[in-house]
Symmetry: C2
Subunit: 299 residues, 2 copies
């Protein structure tokens, strides 16, 4: 089980990088920094961080001198992800009291600090990306990476997806709109972090194209599986109530295609993801197993 | 009046750059883009944008080939400033219904979209900074600029200042805390944009040091004047009610030192700002007149 070894090797590194890149709670203003750390540390699968490292390693054929840069990218994307979750949970958005089995940020720190902690995590993620140069990534690549992450996180990416998701609540939406929401709200960041990891690894145009294809399939099978878990998942493992999509009358891959076809679709996109990176074999083993992991996960 | 000519020359350029860098309202999701444009276009003195251009021009001795890059920096800093105002006005923050004489963003678009439009403007500002490379700024300088702006906008800069400002509301605070709030909430961004403009202009270490000194004095005299205007200003010209600081029992430079000494302090820091860039004369004329403008303004 080489994915297990990969996780054992890199999860502590990503966690340590995040811890060191976040301002300490002793730094003024302390409550702001406590709020930033609360929602970033001690939870989450670090899927985006792991994808950063796996992509860099696959393209560079495991060059260990690039690991510090891959960890920095991992920390940046996890901070950006954490900001988006804090803002998504706000009363004016999805109004969620819990996240990853613990109270959401605004329930602990209040709304004002939750907004500002999210803002600060987003801002800090760009500071981290700009520092990649100090870790050996050529400046020209760094500016490309900043641009790629900003595009993915912006109004034509992640934020656009969240807006359409909010607007569609309680309304019947088309399959096209469902796809828009997912490719933007979750897909864009997966795509960007995989591409940026590949850039750190020194990908040429053809390699970057293959990683992009993998990323798009990966994002899709991640989302289909999310929808399936909301129907058949284990609440204790998920750390949230199941059935909330049906309750809110959300259109999902399950409501649209039924459970069996959704499962088949997830399996198919997983195979497509693996096929996209076949030319990298055996360096592509980790990304292939990550795609399997995402489809087979129970939380 | 050379400042007037400078403004006539560059304000339309900055405005056009902002308009072109913002996604159009026709781009999906339209309401998000309408919300971003509402709070960024058609209002504001563009002080930060003008400082970007003035700083670039002073250091580069007016090299016109750098103007597109200076405009891009100006657009980025104005978007970042607009985001901070949208979030500051939210009900969970300062709860302001008006901004620049028109309804604040959340009063028009709702809270969810106001939060997300702010997030998107912040994100877009980093995309714009990363694009500076295409406008002739060396990639190594671009990564420095991204880092500088992210630091200024982050938890140890602008956001830190806002947190402490919120926490201090209705409480008696010390002169040190007042200074912390101002140097962070407004000062950090003035400092960053002036320094980044100078970097675009090709500043050496000594020149950057002089610009930094100017920026710190400029930020201070801007803030002291703001406090004075809240006591003696004209509501129609300011576009907001005066006396709100006293009403909220805020500590200000006026409440701390009295009106006369506050005025003297503003005049002194203006002179210090001008002295800091004396070696650039006559190229420093615009920055000197901008410092005078800030102290003499009536809104």
């Amino acid at each position: 089980m080489i994915l297990e070894r990969f996780m054992e090797e890199h999860l502590p590194g990503i966690e340590r990088e995040l811890d060191q890149c976040l301002p300490t709670e002793a730094a003024y203003p302390e409550r702001l920094h406590a709020s930033m750390r609360y929602s970033t540390l001690g939870g989450g699968k670090r899927l985006r961080g792991l994808l950063a490292v796996a992509s860099t390693e696959m393209v560079s054929k495991g060059r260990s001198d690039l690991t510090p840069a891959a960890y920095r990218l991992a920390a940046a994307v996890e901070m950006l992800h954490a900001y988006s979750l804090i803002h998504d949970d706000l009363p004016c958005m999805d109004d969620d009291d819990f996240r990853r089995g613990k109270l959401s940020n605004h329930k602990v720190f209040g709304e004002a600090l939750a907004v500002l902690a999210g803002d600060a995590l987003l801002t800090e993620s760009f500071a981290l990306l700009a520092q990649l140069e100090e870790l050996g990534v050529p400046a020209k690549q760094v500016t490309k990476i900043v641009r790629e992450m900003a595009r993915a996180g912006g109004s034509l990416g992640l934020i656009g997806g969240q807006v359409v998701d909010l607007e569609s609540e309680g309304r019947v939406i088309s399959a096209e709109m469902l796809e828009y929401i997912h490719t933007h709200k979750t897909g864009a960041l997966f795509r960007a972090v995989l591409r940026c990891g590949a850039m750190i690894g020194g990908a040429d145009v053809k390699e970057l194209h293959a990683v992009t294809r993998y990323a798009e399939c990966f994002g899709l099978c991640f989302q289909i599986t999310d929808d399936i878990l909301d129907v058949v998942g284990d609440e204790a493992k998920l750390g949230k109530k199941i059935g909330s999509d049906a309750e809110q009358q959300k259109i999902t891959y399950v409501s649209l295609y039924g459970l069996d076809r959704a499962r088949q679709l997830a399996a198919n996109t997983m195979e497509e993801a693996k096929a996209a990176v076949v030319e990298f074999r055996p360096a592509s083993d980790i990304l292939c197993q990550l795609a399997e992991f995402v489809v087979q996960r129970d939380h």
